[in-house]
């Protein structure tokens, strides 16, 4: 009686098992809530961290009496967030956008985009006033320069800065970040509001 060839099925099934393993490991991408529990936590400031601390600071600013002295909405210039940490990959743009949009939507603050050195500068403001000599444009639709159509100067500036501290005990390392925001009255030069966010601390192994 001839024995069945047991070796052949093993050889055939080996690639099949490998394919199954490979497909199991290579799971397809899925959409997640970027600030929810499925979000990846790194040692730096993640998307959710940035949104959380920027939003929290803005809410504190809006709940303070800092802007009561001005006629609202107060015109402000927004200065780009300074990175005073050793991490070059901080989500600066996310923080800028969240601070600006939160303050703007509150109805208490508006930002000028006419200043070249301010974050959110829009060259269209100046360009639109330079069309007065251009025959290509209907002159009745051109923005006039001069006192009647002058751009308003900002009354306050909104400034933000990332700060960090690093510590290690040899086996573990801790990086702690915080966001500082302060508002300056441009007429007097006085800081009228300042606060730091709650710290975002991350621990990892060396």
């Amino acid at each position: 009686m001839r024995m069945p060839n047991l070796r052949r099925p093993t050889l055939v099934s080996a690639p099949l098992v490998a394919v199954i393993f490979a497909s199991a490991c290579d799971s397809p991408p899925k959409r997640i809530d970027p600030t929810g529990p499925e979000a990846v936590t790194g040692m730096g400031v993640d998307y959710g961290d940035a949104q959380e601390i920027a939003d929290s600071l803005c809410r504190q600013m809006l709940a303070s009496p800092a802007f009561l002295r001005y006629q609202q909405p107060v015109l402000a210039r927004y200065n780009n967030t300074i990175n005073n940490t050793s991490d070059p990959n901080l989500p600066i743009n996310i923080v800028n956008t969240r601070i600006r949009s939160t303050l703007l939507n509150s109805g208490q603050i508006q930002f000028t985009s006419a200043l070249r050195t301010a974050e959110g500068h829009d060259p269209s403001v100046r360009e639109a006033r330079e069309l007065a000599d251009d025959p290509m444009f209907n002159q009745q639709s051109v923005q006039e320069s001069g006192a009647m159509n002058a751009v308003e100067a900002p009354k306050v500036s909104v400034n933000s800065e990332f700060q960090s501290a690093y510590s290690t005990d040899g086996s573990s390392k801790q990086k702690t970040y915080q966001l500082r925001v302060f508002v300056t009255d441009l007429l007097s030069g006085r800081v009228i509001w300042e606060q730091t966010s709650k710290p975002i601390a991350k621990v990892g192994r060396n």
């Binding site: 929810g36 529990p37 504190q60 109805g107």
Partner: protein
């Protein structure tokens, strides 16, 4: 006599063990009883879909005030579970017509509470049109 002593010792040992097991990371709290404080407490409804979380994270009260025309709200909570509690909260706002105020992204805010620690969930209306709010609580389970 011997049995009484041994039962006393047993009770003391059990109590000590209980304190060691449950109380290592618990907190003690000192708070004022200032008679001038009259918090503007509001009625809240608390819909519990996660009974386990509700047992750990107890919602005690909620306060509201209006600052600069914006509603400022505070929910007072306490960790009544065993050990540190990590949770997340999210708030959405509604206008007087009941429509959600479109603020994106709606973010989850992460919080820690030590055992028996009191905490606050603080949030401010995004606009003056935002008159009502709803807060969602969930456990913050870390992605490993």
């Amino acid at each position: 006599m011997k049995s009484v002593l041994s039962s006393d010792w047993m009770r003391l040992a059990l109590l000590s063990l209980l304190v060691l097991l449950c109380g290592c990371k618990a907190t003690n709290t000192v708070s004022s009883r200032h008679p001038g404080v009259r918090p503007n407490a509001i009625d809240v409804s608390y819909k519990v879909d996660n009974a386990f979380l509700a047992l750990e994270l107890k919602v005690i009260s909620a306060y509201e005030e209006v600052v600069n025309g914006l509603i400022n709200a505070q929910i007072n909570v306490r960790n009544e579970g065993a050990g540190e509690l990590r949770y997340m909260w999210q708030v959405v706002w509604f206008n007087k017509s009941g429509m959600q105020v479109p603020i994106e992204p709606v973010t989850w805010t992460r919080e820690f509470l030590a055992e028996r620690q009191d905490g606050t969930i603080l949030f401010t209306a995004p606009t003056r049109d935002a008159v009502d709010w709803r807060v969602t609580l969930r456990k913050w389970e870390r992605k490993e």
